[in-house]
């Protein structure tokens, strides 16, 4: 009897399990056959609070408008992004749209090898802007900066490769309560000289109370952003002198070439001034901070162990959502003409943003659905799509006509400051960047000094600069070679369809941008040849 009951119990459990599995398969799980025949993937490393929500909002609306297409957002942590991108692109398994930044270590060849230009599309209006003020505006001109950064960093000067989602700037985020507790006022320092006074007050408070409080939350990333900011400011006069082409801008490859020509070095007085200011700030960070990444600085600030954090607005949403105290956002106080360190090299207020839009998405050459991927690019950078991103991410928009929520208005950099583009640090090339970051501790640690850093960099730079210039040439070669095939193909197709006016235009553009790239390659090669081998 007992045996029979347990047999029924077993059978009952089996039937119940089967019924549950049926229920789950037909009601809760992903359909075996997707109702959407096309799936595209968009991958990025912006896993901070905000951007994933923004991209989700775009996807939700896009899928409503396009029932054939499913869009998947792939979030890849920054720590593994470089390896993830390289291996997936080599294996032709990368997402259709991929975020890439020119500063990513050791990846300068990626755009040339794996990304597809979208120049023709950029010259036409974005179809998703129909009914808006941008309806008839070419896509490229709908971006708040006309895709300035993207154009500058494009592997081929005559081509467009990416769209951007946001505008970024660098700001000083302040723990208002802590500032008031220490200084007795909420008033922010207006100049760098005022900031020196606040640093002093914070050091005195920490010594008096025994609380381990620092003026600035420190990490290798935040220090690197700050140093770029200070160096580009200190070097503006020299950048203008070195701007031989009259661009009012100095491109990264020009910084390298000018170094070889002896037009600047880390021993130049302007660089030393910038480094001196960097040291002044960094001694107000927790010792040993160069070992930590940005998350550590964020945590230090959120714990109330630092009054300020210098960060990009990309960290703004995380800081605001996670902090238990009110955060105020300020522009970093700048040195003035009478500053004892930077004064002699003063040019004007230098840029803390506004240099262009970012979060660049590129079209993977191996995409199985390039048309749909470009269509999604159109939507996410339309007025509607970019408004969704802004509203859900707390990040600035990249598209004109998008309304900026009042709580992030302070992130926007008005056109009231100068930039020549050159930051004389990590943007020049991956080898120089590695040398800077390897030697940063010599500048920032308690026992470090400007001289130690300068000496180490002057020893590393001759070879690092040559290596990065050679990489610039080889990256452009990767672009230029296949263009011959494209030019010949456009010409052959044009012969067969002379009535198609777009083919000669495509060929002419390709020829023109190829010639520009080759001119630059030969110029860089000449600089290397004249400079000779590193001594």
């Amino acid at each position: 009897m007992k045996k029979r009951r347990s047999r029924y119990l077993g059978l009952g459990l089996l039937v119940a399990g089967y019924a549950f599995a049926l229920f789950w398969v037909f009601t809760r799980s992903t359909p075996v056959v997707s109702s959407r025949p096309v799936t595209i993937r968009i991958a990025h490393w912006q896993i901070e609070k905000g951007p994933p929500d923004g991209v989700d909002a775009i996807i939700k609306r896009y899928e409503e408008l396009n029932p054939r297409v499913k869009v998947e957002q792939v979030l890849v942590p920054g720590r593994v992004y470089n390896q993830w991108m390289r291996t997936n692109l080599v294996g032709a398994t990368g997402a259709d749209l991929i975020e890439y930044g020119v500063w990513l270590d050791g990846l300068t060849d990626i755009p040339a090898r794996y990304f597809e230009p979208i120049t023709d599309e950029m010259m036409r209006p974005n179809p998703y802007n129909k009914g808006t003020a941008l309806e008839h505006v070419p896509w490229v001109q709908t971006f708040t900066d006309g895709l300035l950064n993207q154009r500058v960093n494009a592997p081929d000067p005559g081509q467009f490769y990416a769209v951007t989602l946001t505008e970024v700037s660098e700001r000083l985020f302040c723990n208002q309560e802590l500032l008031r507790t220490i200084t007795g006022t909420n008033r922010m320092p207006a100049t760098f000289a005022d900031l020196r006074v606040v640093f002093e007050q914070i050091r005195a408070y920490a010594a008096r109370t025994g609380r381990p409080i620092y003026a600035m939350a420190g990490a290798r990333d935040n220090a690197s952003w700050l140093m770029q900011y200070l160096l580009q400011g200190a070097m503006m006069q020299r950048s203008q002198r070195n701007d031989r082409h009259g661009n009012l801008a100095v491109y990264p490859w020009e910084e390298l070439g000018q170094y070889l020509e002896g037009r600047w070095s880390y021993g130049s007085p302007e660089v030393r001034a910038g480094l001196t200011m960097m040291r002044e700030v960094s001694v107000n960070m927790k010792p040993g901070f160069v070992q930590s990444l940005r998350d550590a600085a964020t945590q230090e600030f959120l714990r109330g162990d630092a009054v300020f954090i210098f960060a990009g607005t990309w960290d703004g949403t995380s800081l605001r959502r996670l902090a238990t105290f009110p955060i105020a956002v300020y522009r970093f106080p700048q040195p003035t003409r009478d500053d004892p360190v930077m004064g002699p090299y003063f040019y004007g207020a230098f840029a803390d943003g506004g240099g262009g839009t970012a979060m660049e998405f590129y079209l993977n050459k191996s995409s199985a659905h390039p048309k749909e991927a470009i269509d999604f690019m159109h939507f996410m950078t339309s007025v509607e799509g970019n408004q969704l991103f802004t509203d859900h991410s707390g990040w600035l928009p990249s598209i004109r006509e998008v309304k900026i929520p009042s709580d992030i208005e302070a992130y926007r950099t008005p056109l009231d400051c100068y930039s020549f583009g050159a930051e004389y640090m990590t943007g020049m090339g991956s080898t120089v960047a590695a040398a800077v970051m390897r030697n940063l501790y010599l500048l920032t640690e308690t026992h470090g000094s400007v001289d130690q850093f300068v000496n180490a960099m002057e020893a590393a730079m001759p070879e690092a600069v040559r290596t990065d210039l050679r990489k610039e040439i080889s990256n452009r070669t990767i672009i230029v070679r296949p263009q011959d095939v494209g030019i010949m193909a456009a010409a052959a197709l044009s012969r067969r369809a002379p009535q198609n006016g777009s083919l000669p235009l495509a060929r002419e553009r390709l020829e023109s941008s190829q010639t520009q790239s080759e001119g630059l390659m030969l110029q860089l090669g000449r600089q290397l040849e004249v400079a000779g081998a590193a001594k």
């Binding site: 081509q159 052959a492 023109s512």
Partner: protein, 280 residues
């Protein structure tokens, strides 16, 4: 005969179509596959183009030979042996007297300029020169002259003095009749001029021509607009500088460079006042 049976007629029609299809395919000109291959190359699908060209039936045509050599130039992994085979094909085709001959001669020079592992600029220059002698009005010869100009500006051993390099490239302009190609060489001569610190007036003359012809895309148009203003200012042509700076502010999306341009306009006003002996 089939009038009372329309469904029979339709059925027979379909049957005939299906039966004749393979014959029609076989009879179709081989060039259709070549055209498809060109389209694949234009779409950057070089591997697919390579496969498609293998399917070309019948005796090879000059065009299919040319297409096969072109695709080999970017068929990954590119090998030196394959490039040398392509060169032999280009050289043979270049002996002809049609547009394929001109394009093949151009591609042969390109191999020496950018494709071979061991580049040979003098050889590339000689091939561009020979092409321009033989087919002076061909587009490929004209484009070759632009590339020859680049080599003269930076890479060839002679002439070695910067002014002579620029002079030699400038001479080529008279032989280029396609306006857009003239523009590209003018731009390169101007860039070389600032690179070699040549007199600004000579640089400006080329930039003004580039601006007149127009049609650049990407970063170049904005750079050009600023360069025209800034170099005019440095050369002391204040009215011209003002006109170009104002055009820049009017024609381009404002960005941080506009702030510097506004400052340069203020500098310009001060310089103009100084030139007139007035206080700014």
């Amino acid at each position: 005969m089939f009038a009372p049976y329309p469904e029979w007629r339709r059925g027979c029609g379909a049957w005939l179509c299906l039966t004749l299809l393979p014959f029609a395919r076989a009879a179709a000109p081989a060039t259709d596959d070549t055209a498809a291959a060109w389209q694949l190359m234009a779409d950057h699908l070089v591997r697919d183009a390579y496969v498609r060209l293998d399917q070309v039936k019948g005796p090879p045509s000059r065009e299919s030979d040319f297409a096969q050599a072109v695709v080999a130039v970017d068929y990954q992994p590119v090998t030196q042996a394959r490039l040398h085979e392509a060169e032999a094909t280009f050289a043979a085709l270049a002996a002809g007297n049609d547009e394929i001959a001109e394009a093949a001669a151009y591609m042969q020079a390109r191999l020496y300029q950018v494709h071979f592992q061991q580049l040979d600029y003098p050889r590339a220059a000689a091939l561009y020169r020979a092409l321009a002698e033989r087919h002076p009005e061909s587009h490929w010869a004209q484009l070759g002259l632009v590339k020859l100009g680049l080599l003269l500006l930076y890479a060839l051993p002679e002439p070695s003095a910067p002014a002579e390099r620029i002079g030699a490239a400038t001479v080529l302009l008279a032989r280029i009749h396609e306006e857009k190609l003239q523009r590209d060489l003018h731009l390169q001569i101007a860039r070389a001029g600032t690179f070699y610190d040549q007199p600004l007036d000579s640089v400006l003359a080329h930039l003004i021509e580039v601006n007149r012809i127009g049609g650049l895309v990407g970063q170049a148009p904005e750079d050009l607009a600023v360069e025209l203003g800034e170099l005019s200012l440095r050369a002391g042509h204040y009215a011209q500088a003002r006109a170009y700076f104002e055009a820049y502010l009017r024609d381009f999306v404002p960005n941080l460079r506009s702030v510097t341009v506004r400052r340069r306009l203020a500098d310009l006003a001060a310089l103009e006042a100084k030139a007139k002996g007035l206080r700014p």
